[in-house]
């Protein structure tokens, strides 16, 4: 632009570029944003493929990639409306709706990468929504298997395999789950997947063994997972690993709860508390103790131990700073304990306080396994 002096206000002559019509759209390509684990974002790119080893994208006309290990997520450029609605549904824990919406997005997406991603998310949401329902779990299995067939080396493959194992347990196929998870555990390194997948598979395998009442096997799998996760944490610690250690540490106690040996379970958790140096483990142990004491009281049909349960669960809540699962579990059982204590041992508003506990789980921890139980508890 140039200026010439004049009276009054400014005089400007506008650049001729102003008056030319610019192209209606600068580029026909997508404008995705890739978020890396370091927090760095790569903007103005088009994601073309997501494999278990690399995330490939176009920047202008140049093809580039980052290692899958560095990748956190994609912010897709103008995804279908159903995809956005599905994200909203996931945020509020409505996985059933999310599954349908992601399914629509998989059908409507013109982009292959987004299509596959939607397909996985639909299957994953379906699995999360099954909530113990075998029939739904079986539908979820089919969806997960369809995704794995479509993208055997996809970025989401390890996660899909893990979810497959969890869902097989719900579908009453615990033996198959154990076999699949053992396979994932051993193949993770041969496929160059992040080592944490092997540890996570170990944890789920222990749960599959628990579901088959193979309690000794489950206990040793839980212990092996603790060892594996602790070894990984020495190389590069993360809150995910700490959560894994906590979950696996209390796993042994959970086998005792499954056997209804509540006194032994309580003793196990108390011992764990004594030896624990990790805050997450301490929190998980308190939550486990609270659960064992509550279930013992429930089974015995009396209210002894309920205050001790309430206290343990409150402590779990204070201590837990990482694992959503532990806080969600503590909140859930805190609500259950209030209902059990009843009007004789609590003020008249005990029910609404219990409902608030359940509501906190569904609102703030919608993706935890306890959210579905809390929803059910609220409606009861």
């Amino acid at each position: 632009m140039s200026i010439s002096k004049t009276s009054g206000l400014s005089l400007l002559s506008l650049s001729s570029s102003l008056l030319l019509l610019a192209p209606l759209a600068a580029q026909g390509k997508a404008n995705d944003v890739i978020l890396q684990k370091s927090g760095k974002r790569i903007r103005g790119v088009e994601v073309t493929e997501m494999t278990s080893s690399a995330i490939k994208f176009l920047r202008g006309d140049t093809s580039e990639e980052i290692p899958a290990a560095d990748f956190a997520r994609v912010q897709w450029d103008e995804p279908p409306e159903s995809f956005m609605l599905a994200e909203g549904a996931v945020k509020r824990g409505d996985f059933a709706t999310a599954a349908n919406l992601y399914g629509e997005s998989a059908k409507n997406s013109a982009r292959e990468a987004l299509k596959l991603e939607s397909q996985f998310l639909a299957a994953d949401a379906l699995a999360r929504s099954s909530g113990g329902d075998q029939a739904r779990a079986k539908s979820a299995l089919e969806a997960l298997q369809a995704y794995l067939a479509a993208a055997p080396d996809g970025y989401r493959a390890p996660e899909a395999l893990l979810q497959l194992g969890r869902t097989q347990i719900i579908a009453g196929q615990a033996a198959e789950a154990e076999a699949n998870l053992a396979k994932l555990e051993s193949e993770a390194s041969s496929k160059n997947w992040d080592a944490i997948w092997a540890a996570r598979a170990g944890l789920e395998k222990a749960r599959a063994q628990l579901a088959q009442s193979k309690l000794n096997d489950a206990r040793s799998s839980f212990r092996a997972t603790v060892a594996a996760a602790e070894a990984l944490a020495k190389q590069s610690d993360s809150s995910t690993l700490q959560d894994l250690i906590a979950e696996a540490s209390v796993g042994e106690g959970e086998t005792l709860v499954a056997e209804e040996k509540y006194d032994l379970a309580a003793q196990f958790f108390r011992n764990l508390l004594t030896g624990a140096s990790n805050r997450s483990v301490t929190a998980a142990a308190q939550a486990g103790l609270g659960e064992a004491l509550f279930l013992k009281a429930e089974a015995a049909g009396d209210d002894q131990d309920l205050r001790a349960a309430q206290l343990a669960l409150a402590k779990a809540n204070i201590l837990d700073s990482s694992a959503e699962g532990t806080t969600a579990k503590a909140l859930f059982y805190s609500g259950k304990v209030l209902i059990a204590l009843g009007p004789d041992r609590e003020q008249q508003d005990y029910k609404s306080r219990a409902i608030e506990y359940f509501r906190t789980v569904t609102r703030y921890y919608p993706q935890s396994a306890w959210a579905a139980k809390a929803t059910k508890a609220m409606s009861n």
Binding site: I3, P23, L24, N31, R43, M84, R307, S322, R345, E356
Partner: protein
């Protein structure tokens, strides 16, 4: 150079501040200015609105009434721009637009309507911008709201463009060079271009087309008015943004830099004579250009370029005379926020830390506006994604923000993470504060056990923190522990003994002086809570004057007398306290922060109870006569409660909202009541007041809906024309929908929704033919009340009937038959046949004939068992339908029965030709040799049934 926002303000003020008609009355002119300043300077929007209403009453027969009405619209718009609550802002924007439309229609053709049109243009732009801000937030926080917001924004922009075109048409002929009319004309043109552009930004589908039209509009304007003015530069800048909307970031950045360069040349040229206000405008425009350019660079992915560009910006601002000034006082914060985002995304830990500091500062300066919301979103993003790079101390600050925003569970999560991330020395320094806040978060949610544990941790681990207020923490602990004892009925379970001992030890070590006064106060508080009012009065009265508990005790005494319904005594004590405040004994030294806090809290308590007693008297809750004339005064007084008492208001705000909403509902101000209710829900999601208030709001909606129904029926009696019918139908539909939405919201948010609200919602949904909602609610009613003795019969007979109809109308005939058949059987077994269910069952079996929305006759087949349906209808339903207690020969019920029976028979012919005769007989009976004349004479319903007959003659 001042804040660039001034530019937008001046832009806006030039459109609407001065009404075209001067006030005929000088007193009125002064009143108008006074009211305007209440809103703009003191931000007392409710008070300003009340003053406007009073002026409207005073000037209702005067020519100046229009001016006053215009002022009302302006106040709504000002309120919409500055109100701290976004829900309330949305309502005020809608009000401003709605009032503008009504005003313009009423005074069409008069000059005052032209001024209102300009206000409407501005309101459309501001509201649309607000919705686009909501859209941007929704993309991160609530993606499922995007579609609704896009549609709302698009509508607002379309209306705005229409208003611009109308205004321009009117101004076209009267604009002379240099006149106010010409300025307004060009402003409307500019707004038109901006509105088209924003419409393109908001709505993906029409983006290209609308962007092109916007560009053309602005280009034409620049050609027409010339390029050598501030407005021309403004238009160029607005046009540059079109490129950004279309994703041409490179082109947009180039154009923005052109604007920056041009303005820089002007501002740097000492030879040019430019007024101070023009310099302000240009400086502001330049900063906006920097903001858009930084944003475009950011979106195009080059964070390094963003950072160097913003560095240039900082230097540039400094060079224009702001050297040495705090950058936050002179620079556009939106630019700094973009810089922070770029730093955060760099992955460099040092930059991430700097970004956090910057975002926190911006957030602190923008507690309630869009920039603040964006800053909070950026903060959350950094913490979620890069928590390993963020210090525990910073995380604590963010968690405190959540605590202050009453987002307690989020605060608790953040506090725990912060503590885990802190180094030992950070824990020593901040641990006491952190766990004390955690205790308050738990306590605010009535989770007194967790609160007590948190506070015990605070004292045990960090009670010796130098400079820490351990005594305050101990005080909190005592409160929460007493709270837990109350909740647990002071349970003597041995499991609690270690904790009891722990608490006792800590209170002994850290509890402060004034212990006797504290003891008295605490005892009295327990007396009050447990209903021993006289004892409480005695004990509060004994709290010594020279202790920190004296004033709080005064506040509690007033509560005691209010509970005793001795308002006179309560008010006398209030008067005494207020007089005491004027005495030297009441002086609180500046450094006595606890004393000042007590003073603030006590004043808030007293103020609240003053209004509460007024409320009880005005509503007759204390046994007297209701006096609605007092409601507006109470509402206005409470509307400014938070402004009067700031942080001390928080303990009362949920109750304040409750009272205000109830009074608004009683006054028939349903929308306002709903808005207040939503504010209560948003700010206090766990409050039990929310559910109870929801039923009041629902009832208010229902009352309004019923009044509209009465209006509608009365209108139909007068044989209105098509336009009248359409307008009345729209109004009725809106009223029903609003009532239904209210009922649904209540059902969603109540832990145990009431049967009556849900059932009434079902009926409303059915009237709207929203069968999906009928189904959803019906199922919930069956699930929630089906096995409750009190409601079982209603559920079996009424709810299942409606649920069956919902299945039917959605084409789920099988489901309908299953449900309705079971319901029918149960009714018969109980000895009370349910004939409406029988009728629906027949429709499900045999289908029906109706007209669709285009007036075309359609046949709904049902389960295609028209023969079975006919038999059942004729043998079982007939005795009910033609019972003389409800049906006379040849009335509408009679004809309707014959029609339904006929259409079954007519279709059953395909299965068995013997139905032909039956169909013919039924048809002839209704036609009666007079071409349905008697039927048509029964009114619109009769005409409809007659048309059905004639559209579907016998086969």
């Amino acid at each position: 150079m001042k804040n660039p926002k001034l530019f937008t303000g001046l832009l806006a003020v030039s459109l609407a501040a001065t009404p075209l008609l001067p006030a005929q009355d000088k007193q009125l002119a002064r009143d108008v200015e006074f009211v305007r300043s209440l809103a703009t300077e003191l931000r007392f929007i409710s008070l300003a609105t009340e003053q406007v209403e009073a002026l409207q009453m005073s000037y209702k027969d005067s020519e100046d009434f229009k001016l006053v009405s215009q002022l009302g619209i302006e106040i709504s718009l000002i309120g919409a721009q500055i109100h701290p609550n976004r829900e309330e802002r949305r309502r005020l924007f809608r009000d401003a637009l709605e009032q503008s439309k009504v005003f313009i229609e009423r005074y069409e053709g008069e000059p005052v309507a032209d001024a209102a049109m300009l206000t409407m243009v501005r309101a459309s732009y501001e509201y649309g911008s607000f919705l686009v801000e909501e859209l941007e937030l929704a993309r991160e926080e609530a993606p499922d709201q995007i579609k609704g917001l896009e549609e709302a924004a698009a509508q607002v922009y379309r209306d705005g463009v229409d208003a611009c075109e109308s205004a321009m048409e009117k101004l076209e002929h009267s604009r002379e060079a240099g006149s106010k009319q010409e300025q307004d004309y060009f402003m409307c043109w500019l707004y038109k271009g901006m509105l088209l552009r924003e419409n393109a930004r908001a709505v993906r589908e029409d983006r290209d087309h609308l962007a092109l039209v916007s560009r053309d509009t602005l280009e034409e304007m620049i050609f027409d008015m010339g390029e050598d003015s501030i407005l021309g530069m403004r238009a160029y800048f607005e046009m540059s943004q079109v490129g950004e909307v279309l994703g041409d970031y490179k082109g947009a950045v180039r154009d923005y830099k052109d604007t920056i360069d041009s303005i820089d040349k002007i501002l740097s040229n000492a030879d040019l004579e430019i007024s101070a206000s023009a310099k302000e405008l240009l400086f502001g425009l330049m900063q906006q250009a920097y903001d858009r350019a930084a944003n475009a660079l950011f979106l195009s992915g080059n964070t390094d370029e963003v950072l160097s560009f913003v560095l240039e910006f900082r230097e540039h601002v400094a060079s224009l005379g702001a050297e040495g000034a705090d950058i936050y006082d002179v620079a556009d914060h939106s630019v700094l926020l973009t810089e922070a985002r770029a730093m955060a995304e760099s992955g460099d830990p040092a930059k991430v830390g700097a970004a956090l500091d910057q975002v926190r500062e911006i957030n602190r300066r923008h507690p309630n506006d869009f920039i603040g919301s964006k800053a909070k979103s950026v903060l959350k993003d950094i913490l979620d994604v890069q928590s390993s790079m963020v210090s525990g101390v910073l995380m604590l600050e963010v968690a405190k923000g959540d605590y202050q925003a009453k987002n307690y569970e989020a605060a608790i999560k953040g506090l725990k993470r912060a503590y885990a991330a802190m180094s030992p020395s950070e824990r020593d320094a901040k641990g006491l504060e952190l766990w004390t806040i955690a205790g308050r978060c738990y306590g605010s949610q009535q989770r007194f056990l967790e609160a007590s544990l948190a506070l015990c941790d605070a004292l045990e681990k960090h009670g010796q923190t130098p400079g820490g207020d351990a005594e305050l923490t101990a005080d909190n602990l005592e409160r929460t522990w007493n709270g837990y004892l109350r909740q647990s009925k002071s349970d003597s379970d041995v499991a609690l003994n270690p904790l009891k001992d722990r608490v006792t030890t800590l209170l002994g070590s850290y509890g402060g002086t004034d212990s006797e006064a504290k003891l008295l106060y605490n005892t009295a508080t327990r007396d009050l809570q447990e209903g021993r009012i006289d004892q409480a009065i005695q004990n509060f009265g004994r709290v010594p004057a020279d202790t920190p508990f004296y004033e709080p005790a005064k506040g509690r005494l007033i509560i005691c007398y209010q509970r005793k319904a001795d308002f006179a005594q309560a008010r006398r004590l209030i008067g005494e306290y207020e007089s005491w405040l004027e005495t030297p004994a009441a002086i609180v030294p500046e450094e006595n922060s606890a004393g000042r806090a007590n003073r603030g809290a006590t004043k808030a308590t007293i103020d609240y109870y003053k209004f509460y007693m007024d409320y009880q008297e005005a509503t007759g809750a204390n046994g007297g006569d209701k006096d609605p004339t007092k409601f507006p005064g109470i509402i206005a007084g409470l509307a400014e409660f938070r402004t009067r008492h700031a942080a001390y208001a928080e303990n009362f705000m949920s109750r304040v909202y409750d009272i205000v909403a109830r009074l608004q509902a009683e006054l028939g101000e349903v929308e306002q009541a709903e808005s207040t209710y939503r504010t209560l829900r948003n700010e206090f999601p766990g409050s039990p007041l929310g559910s109870m208030l929801a039923t009041v709001i629902f009832t208010a909606h229902q009352d309004y809906m019923k009044s509209v129904e009465v209006e509608y029926d009365a209108l139909m009696e007068t044989e209105p024309d098509r336009q009248q019918t359409q307008a009345a139908t729209e109004k009725l539909t809106l009223a029903r929908q609003a009532a239904l939405n209210s009922g649904l919201e209540y059902t969603r948010n109540s832990p145990q929704p009431q049967y009556s609200v849900m059932w009434n919602s079902v009926l409303i949904a059915a009237s709207l033919k929203d069968w999906k909602t009928v189904e959803d609610l019906g199922k919930k009613l069956v699930e929630g009340f089906g096995s409750d003795e009190k409601y079982r019969d209603r559920v079996e007979r009424r709810v299942k009937e409606k649920l069956g109809e919902a299945y039917l109308r959605q084409g789920n005939f099988k489901g309908a038959v299953e449900l309705l058949a079971a319901s029918e059987e149960a009714a018969i077994a109980a000895g009370r046949p349910n004939y409406p269910v029988t009728r629906l069952l027949c429709l499900a079996l045999g289908g029906w004939v109706e007209f669709d929305s285009n007036g075309t006759r359609v046949i709904i087949p049902g389960l295609d068992k028209a023969d079975e349906a006919y038999d059942k209808f004729w043998t079982e339903y007939k005795k009910y339908a033609l019972n003389s207690s409800r049906t006379q020969d040849y009335d509408i019920n009679w004809y309707t029965f014959h029609w339904e029976c006929y259409q079954f028979a007519n279709r059953a012919i395909a299965k068995d030709s013997m139905f032909r005769d039956r169909a013919q007989v039924l048809y002839n009976k209704a036609e009666a040799g007079e071409n349905f004349a008697s039927l048509k004479a029964l009114g619109p319903e009769g005409v409809e049934v007659a048309n059905l007959f004639t559209s579907y003659p016998p086969k």
